[in-house]
Symmetry: C2
Subunit: 335 residues, 2 copies
């Protein structure tokens, strides 16, 4: 199966802020968007008022192109391109509702920045193995891109990662518009791992900020994090890659330095002394990095590599070790 520029239909699965931003980008092009949202009231609101009541409601949606509904099966049946944009922790529960062989001939794009918590699988690995989707039909959307700035039409960039050139280019094409440029890289798994790891580093940065560490420490933390990410990628998916590209370094920066980063905010609360539970309660959501750090830490142990920042975040979130103790240990390791 090849997708060409004539393909004008896509199903977007998920109703959060990133899904809403992607729907906006897609609808800048001549694409018919079948949008699945879990919540019936949200669907009705969008049809009536052209806005998602729950996320980024500043965005006016073009309902001549955007067709929301709660019917998952129909959306997936009727489209050859499926864009998945739901929290990683819910993906299995959502896809269990559709027949196993329905996805195998489709282009499936993951905008999910996490792993399957129960198995520590990358999303595209899980999709390939559980639904028989060939590798060249899978793509990943990498940042650096906060949905809030897409809503404001601030100049933004995406990177589409995949092994199938034709498909990756087609996806990059429909995800480019007047204020956003998408480029491509041939590194599905690396981009995906990196998207998970940046959330862990964002939590670490937030914790440091919450503990009153300054800009000097933050800069050292992030540059050491790049070495940690490289070490992990070289072990888990060895491949020639330029980590300075915006899909890797850029994505890390936008997540660790921006006020819009949920993972960073979660870290700040933990650093200030909130328990993990109360920080999650305060934020009314679970930051992806909370699950991500457990997966990456467990995978790093399989490869027998030392990731001090990841380990510190894991210890703080899962072993209830005090943030200030873990940061003191990190202080001496970083350089």
């Amino acid at each position: 199966l090849k997708v060409t520029s004539e393909v004008k239909k896509i199903a977007v699965i998920g109703g959060g802020s990133w899904a809403t931003a992607l729907v906006k980008i897609l609808s800048e092009n001549n694409v018919r968007i079948n949008w699945w949202l879990r919540n019936k009231e949200d669907v009705e609101h969008i049809i009536k008022f052209q806005r998602n009541p729950s996320y980024l409601s500043d965005i006016k949606l073009d309902t001549n192109k955007v067709f929301p509904s709660t019917n998952l099966l129909d959306h997936i049946k009727d489209n050859d391109m499926i864009l998945l944009c739901v929290p990683s922790a819910f993906l299995e529960a959502i896809l269990v509702q559709i027949p196993k062989d329905l996805l195998k001939d489709k282009i499936v794009i993951s905008a999910i920045k996490g792993m399957i918590p129960s198995s520590n699988q990358l999303i595209t690995d899980f999709l390939a193995k559980s639904f028989g989707i060939p590798c060249e039909n899978l793509c990943v959307i990498a940042g650096p891109c906060h949905s809030e700035e897409v809503a404001m039409e601030k100049r933004s960039y995406l990177t589409i990662a995949g092994y199938g050139d034709v498909n990756t280019n087609s996806v990059a094409q429909i995800l480019s518009c007047r204020f956003l440029k998408s480029s491509t890289i041939k590194d599905l798994h690396g981009a995906e791992f990196c998207a998970v790891m940046k959330n862990i580093i964002a939590i670490a940065s937030g914790i440091a900020r919450g503990l009153n560490y300054g800009d000097n420490f933050q800069a050292v933390l992030v540059s050491n994090a790049m070495s940690e990410i490289k070490l992990f990628l070289d072990a888990a998916d060895p491949r020639e890659r330029d980590l300075n590209r915006s899909a890797y370094l850029g994505d890390l920066l936008v997540t660790t330095y921006s006020q819009f980063s949920r993972n960073r905010t979660f870290g700040v609360l933990v650093g200030r002394g909130y328990s993990v539970k109360s920080a999650q309660f305060e934020m009314k959501m679970v930051a992806e990095g909370y699950f991500g750090v457990k997966s990456i830490y467990e995978v790093s142990k399989q490869f027998n590599i030392d990731m001090p920042i990841t380990k510190a975040v894991y210890n703080i979130l899962y072993e209830k070790i005090s943030p200030s103790i873990e940061m003191k240990i990190l202080e001496n390791i970083l350089k």
Copy 2:
């Protein structure tokens, strides 16, 4: 000449905020600091009140260890280690006051983040050529480190770059203290070039911010900048180096993302529509990157390499091309 840990004397040349912070770090160790400041009133104030009246006056200086004076020649004669910390544009005029052969047997450490404007020479190149200082006696202090956070004793890191292991290690030792760790790299010229380039990128980031570009753009700008820096270093000083280290990436981050960065602030003003002159007037100083961009741009032309971000900043500051036009051009080049 070898410096060992027994050396307990150093001359610090320069009275600005970075010099004041370095004096504080040094005086945490058992080192006698002969501090040259240009301004007689400042010297008298420091002796009387133990504070530099002009910069970082929160810092209480230990005048049992810190000996300020305006006598440049004596300071340089009496010490085997000389730490230079003056604006790059003033260095020649300061050193012309001392005999040409006085520095050739000394360890000379540059904390200057610029180049000699008239010749586009690196500071250490200029020192080696004009004063006959052997390469292994030269060191450079690289960040990431804002002096304001040193004053607050926030956990910080420095990197000492040099080709002479013994000297570099000794300098790292006297520049480490309870709240600051110095490590070493064997890359004098790379670290020095990088320190100049980060100021250019900080100006570019500031200009983008002044023009209301957001965090997404900033992240892409900085990751593209890393590629630009790599391209330049591979041409101007080819050598195996890990650009993720905090002397390179970390220093870039602290300068482009921090509120304390003067170069970034200068860029913000220019982005908002201030002329270069009025931005400099507003800031009561000339940002190092203003000179740095001219030198790096001219050197890049010698090597025939394309540095779009550097070129944009050069065009804005020296060719009076509108910041918004240059940023529009960059928008399309970045990815």
